[in-house]
């Protein structure tokens, strides 16, 4: 069955919903095992599974939070089982580090490219992701509780 733009938009909405709700397992399942990622603040590309370990440690704990809003999603269909979603987003993150410090990060003008591929079970998964910011990311250390 061919991919439709609406299916991709639904996947993007799920992605941000799982991220904001800190649904670790469902969030991790969005990626193919071989997926690669350019995170907003990373100098290099990494395997999604490494990014997931870091996000789980820093963002999915009880003292952390993620709030996201995204804009209109452009979808390019590149075949029967491949599509690219691109859209702007705004991200606000409270990151609690294991040492006890907490930081508030704002990504005011985020930009996302996500390449989705339908796997052999017919499920759409992210194959490659590139997120960036058009403006500098601001980070504020929060007072200790």
């Amino acid at each position: 069955m061919n991919i439709s733009p609406d299916e991709i938009r639904a996947e993007v909405r799920k992605f941000w919903e799982f991220f904001s709700r800190k649904s670790k397992a469902q969030f991790a399942e969005m990626y193919l095992p071989s997926a690669t990622v350019f995170a907003v603040d990373a100098r290099r590309m990494e395997l999604a599974r490494l990014m997931l370990v870091r996000r789980e440690r820093e963002l999915f704990g009880p003292a952390s939070s993620v709030n996201a809003k995204f804009g209109p999603i452009d979808v390019q269909l590149l075949g029967t089982d491949l599509a690219v979603a691109s859209y702007p987003f705004h991200l606000s993150i409270t990151r609690a580090l294991p040492g006890g410090k907490s930081y508030q990060a704002e990504v005011p003008s985020g930009r996302a490219t996500q390449v989705f591929q339908r796997n052999e079970k017919g499920v759409l998964r992210i194959l490659h992701e590139h997120t960036s910011s058009a403006e500098p990311v601001t980070v504020k250390e929060l007072p200790a509780r």
């Binding site: 100098r43 452009d74 390019q76 590149l78 491949l82 690219v84 490659h128 960036s132 980070v139 007072p143």
Partner: protein
């Protein structure tokens, strides 16, 4: 038509930067599919790649005195007979002389690129999606409380 190989895609990436940096005089517009979408350096939203290419062409026709680019290793994922994702980091430096004679230096130290290539009906490899970004260390505001 033979299947796409990683080396075909790496050649496409190198050709893109050779045109971008003025080493080749070919038109950069020809690198893109007519329906390509791109996120350029600091744009908040994606745009039709043709518009970005026209702006780049105008800049290239200006008086660039020297321009160097260094792509890191180019990771290529072949995702079907005709589609591939190239992802890599790069540094870019250019010295430009404006019409009024002022010199401008532009430097991208931590550039990151995702370019999705697709072979068109005539067998030519073209970019269908591009996301160029750069990272900088975020400014951290210390807690005062």
């Amino acid at each position: 038509m033979e299947n796409l190989s990683p080396e075909d895609v790496r050649r496409g990436v190198r050709r893109f930067w050779d045109i971008f940096s003025g080493k080749l005089t070919d038109k950069i517009e020809a690198m893109y599919s007519p329906t390509a979408i791109a996120f350029s350096g600091r744009a908040k939203r994606s745009e039709p790649a043709k518009l970005i290419a026209v702006r780049r062409s105008r800049r290239l026709q200006g008086s660039v005195s020297s321009s160097t680019v260094d792509e890191g290793s180019i990771d290529v994922q072949i995702v079907g007979a005709n589609v591939a994702i190239a992802a890599y980091t790069y540094t870019y430096h250019t010295d430009r002389v404006r019409a009024d004679g002022t010199k401008v230096q532009l430097e991208t130290l931590f550039g990151r690129a995702t370019q999705i290539f697709q072979r068109d009906d005539s067998g030519v490899l073209r970019i269908v999606h591009e996301h160029l970004s750069a990272t900088a260390n975020p400014e951290v505001e210390k807690a005062t409380g």
